[in-house]
């Protein structure tokens, strides 16, 4: 799967290149808008990552140009600005996504995967039952079981567990959880998410089951899938 990466900062570019390659992507690198257009013409890509501030122009302009010249792959926009302006929000409704710097690489990967999955309409979202190890989530009946044991979860806890299951085996950050489960893009200075995870973990392991939900200090959480 080819990813066009447009990032002018050399250190960030190299970091992205390595991370993408390690995750099994085939990165196509560009440092400027001109290079990006050239690369997009010669190499068809399945996805794009575009930094908004480029030395030879605005990332939004580049994205518009790319789309006009037939680049139909979804794009993940990286922005160093604090507030995301309306043009980026407009692109988001058009099937693209954005991420503000500094970002956790795990979040970037998760968003990238989401974009690709959405673009290829892999019916992952269509499943009505999610299974991770001995954990089963029935999305229709909103019921979670650990083995045979039904877990007593609140609505929010169920949504949180559903989100973790959909990303089983991958790390999710606190800000991803806040965005997807609570619908807020905030960075709480306190451990509000940790306490929710802690409660969920208690309910999942009440009867001495194997620990599944692992905390990675400083980064986030992983729901282990094996």
């Amino acid at each position: 799967m080819r990813v066009l990466v447009v990032e002018d900062d050399a250190a960030n570019r190299e970091f992205l290149r390595r991370s993408l390659a390690e995750s099994g992507y085939e990165p196509v690198m560009a440092a400027t808008a001109r290079e990006a257009k050239l690369a997009a013409e010669t190499t068809p890509c399945d996805c794009g990552i575009v930094d908004l501030m480029l030395p030879d122009g605005d990332g939004i302009g580049l994205i518009r140009d790319l789309k006009e010249s037939g680049f139909s792959a979804p794009i993940l926009i990286l922005s160093a600005k604090r507030s995301v302006d309306e043009r980026v929000l407009g692109l988001r409704t058009g099937g693209d996504d954005y991420l503000t710097k500094p970002y956790a690489i795990a979040e970037l990967m998760a968003r990238l995967e989401n974009l690709v999955r959405r673009a290829e309409s892999i019916p992952a979202e269509q499943r009505t039952v999610l299974r991770v190890q001995d954990l089963t989530l029935d999305l229709l009946r909103r019921e979670a079981r650990r083995g045979e044991q039904v877990l007593e979860l609140t609505t929010r806890e169920f949504s949180l567990l559903e989100f973790l299951c959909r990303n089983a085996g991958r790390m999710v950050t606190r800000s991803m959880i806040l965005d997807k489960v609570w619908g807020m893009r905030i960075d709480p200075e306190t451990n509000v998410v940790d306490v929710h995870i802690y409660r969920l973990r208690n309910k999942m392991e009440r009867h001495g089951e194997q620990p599944m939900l692992k905390t990675i200090r400083g980064m986030g959480y992983v729901l282990k899938d094996k």
């Binding site: 604090r82 507030s83 995301v84 309306e86 960075d187 306190t190 306490v195 929710h196 400083g218």
Partner: protein
């Protein structure tokens, strides 16, 4: 610098004055030429009318009157008429016969009768050479006379020809006098006009020049100079006022930029130092197992640093009135419930309880991201500053087109040293571990949304924040 702008001002004034004076002079000249033409035509028309009228009367008289009696009567008539016609005091010539002549000749052009200037032979010779149409006056120049004569001819029934002539000297004198007067007035008006335009445009340009000089004085170090205020409300006064307003804005912006960068440096240096310390600690660690912990802490601190940067810039921008917002319609009820639900476990863990009292269906045009962060901020504050066992209550109600949000607690209240300056940046209680941005951020967001915020210690203990938004 100053002398150069001065020179430029004078030349501009000179140019403006010269240009307008030239146009004015040209216009006046054209108007005078038209007037002159009209007056001279009118004078000639009048004398022609007199001549033709007079000659027909005279010829009538000449035909009917016997020779001997005719002469005296004509002399008398001509003299009287001529005296009447020539306004007294214009000419030094007291003898009217110098200005008017009467001549009668027979069919062979020999002089039969003459009344007029003494050189009758010259007159006869010259006049009889001309061809006349009956009763239409023509100009005839007579040798020895400065001005031509206007002469009309009448042929009587008996073949005799009567001529009546009048010198154009008087007409000429009128026109000469008119031209003289005009020239005097013309020169006076043009000079006066030039002087007035020059002086007034130079005064005007001097005022403009003051604006220029003030602008020229402004450089990186000096943003304080202002153009002296000018009374009145004309264009230059407006220019001055606008220029001063612009300078105010610029100097305000520059001040804000300075205070913003100072504040940023202040906000960033300590956390950066902390992160650096952690990483150094990781580098110094001997066992691989002890590397992870400081790095994880460093990452967490970096996240907080990014967050701090965002908040600090938001506060600075909001204070400068330049906070960028993306407003949408927000249902506050649901928003407050879900944020309280997010914080509830953490607050519960600290034995702080939350009471939420929320009127249904309150909506507000607001930036969702900023509002989320504002509410998170309020609950962060509660978590940070309230001792176990406290209660924080959040009340939302709508009243009179405004949305009122009240946040109250029964904790220790604001420390007395910060009470007066609650919403200023970097103001925090002695025991606070924060950056002193929380309430400043609340204030910034509230004001950016057109609302107001008040904070005080309740008499019964604890703090009270009242936020008001138009909705």
């Amino acid at each position: 610098m100053s002398s150069r702008t001065n020179e430029r001002g004078v030349t501009a004034a000179w140019r403006i004055a010269l240009g307008s004076t030239l146009v004015f002079a040209l216009g006046t000249m054209i108007a005078f030429l038209l007037l002159h033409e009209f007056v001279s035509r009118e004078i000639q028309r009048r004398s022609d009318a007199w001549l033709t009228g007079e000659v027909s009367v005279l010829s009538d008289v000449a035909e009917r009157t016997p020779r001997g009696a005719l002469y005296d009567r004509i002399v008398d008539e001509v003299a009287q008429l001529a005296t009447k016609e020539i306004p007294a005091g214009i000419s030094s010539v007291s003898d009217p016969t110098q200005a008017v002549f009467f001549m009668e000749t027979d069919a062979n052009d020999s002089l039969k009768l003459w009344v007029g200037p003494s050189d009758s032979a010259v007159f006869t010779r010259i006049i009889t050479r001309n061809r006349f149409k009956p009763e239409i006056p023509i100009n005839v120049a007579i040798a020895g006379h400065e001005n031509p004569y206007r002469v009309v001819q009448f042929v009587a029934n008996d073949g005799n020809v009567i001529y009546l002539g009048m010198s154009e000297r008087n007409d000429h004198q009128v026109l000469v006098r008119m031209r003289g007067y005009f020239l005097m007035i013309f020169v006076a008006i043009v000079l006066l006009g030039f002087a007035i335009t020059f002086v007034s445009s130079r005064q005007l340009l001097r005022r403009v020049q003051r604006v220029t000089e003030t602008a020229a004085q402004i450089d990186q170090d000096n943003l304080q100079s202002r153009v002296p205020a000018i009374d009145g409300n004309d264009e230059v006064a407006q220019l001055t006022a606008t220029m001063n307003r612009m300078l105010d804005r610029i100097s305000r912006t520059v001040e804000q930029l300075h205070s913003m960068s100072d504040a940023l440096a202040h906000d960033l240096r300590s956390p950066i130092t902390a992160v650096r310390g952690r990483l150094e600690q990781a580098l110094m660690a001997d066992e691989p197992g002890r590397i992870k912990e400081p790095i994880a802490a460093a990452v967490e601190e970096l996240d907080q640093l990014a967050n701090l940067l965002t908040t600090s810039l938001d506060v600075a921008e909001a204070r400068a009135g330049a906070l960028r917002m993306h407003r949408t319609r927000l249902g506050l009820n649901q928003l407050v419930h879900s944020i309280v639900e997010l914080y509830e476990p953490s607050l519960h863990e600290r034995a702080i309880s939350v009471r939420l009292q929320c009127e249904e269906g309150i909506e507000i045009e607001a930036d969702a991201g900023l509002f989320h962060r504002m509410l998170a901020n309020i609950l962060n504050n509660a978590m940070r500053h309230l001792p176990p066992g406290s209660t924080v209550s959040l009340t939302l109600r709508r009243d009179d087109g405004m949305m009122w949000m009240t946040v109250e607690d029964n904790g220790p209240g604001f420390p007395p040293e910060v009470c007066a300056r609650l919403f200023e940046k970097h103001v925090k209680g002695r025991s606070s571990t924060g950056h002193g941005l929380g309430l400043a951020f609340l204030h910034a967001v509230t004001v950016a949304h057109g609302g107001t915020i008040e904070g005080r210690n309740r008499t019964s203990g604890g703090t009270q924040l009242i936020l008001r938004f138009p909705c």
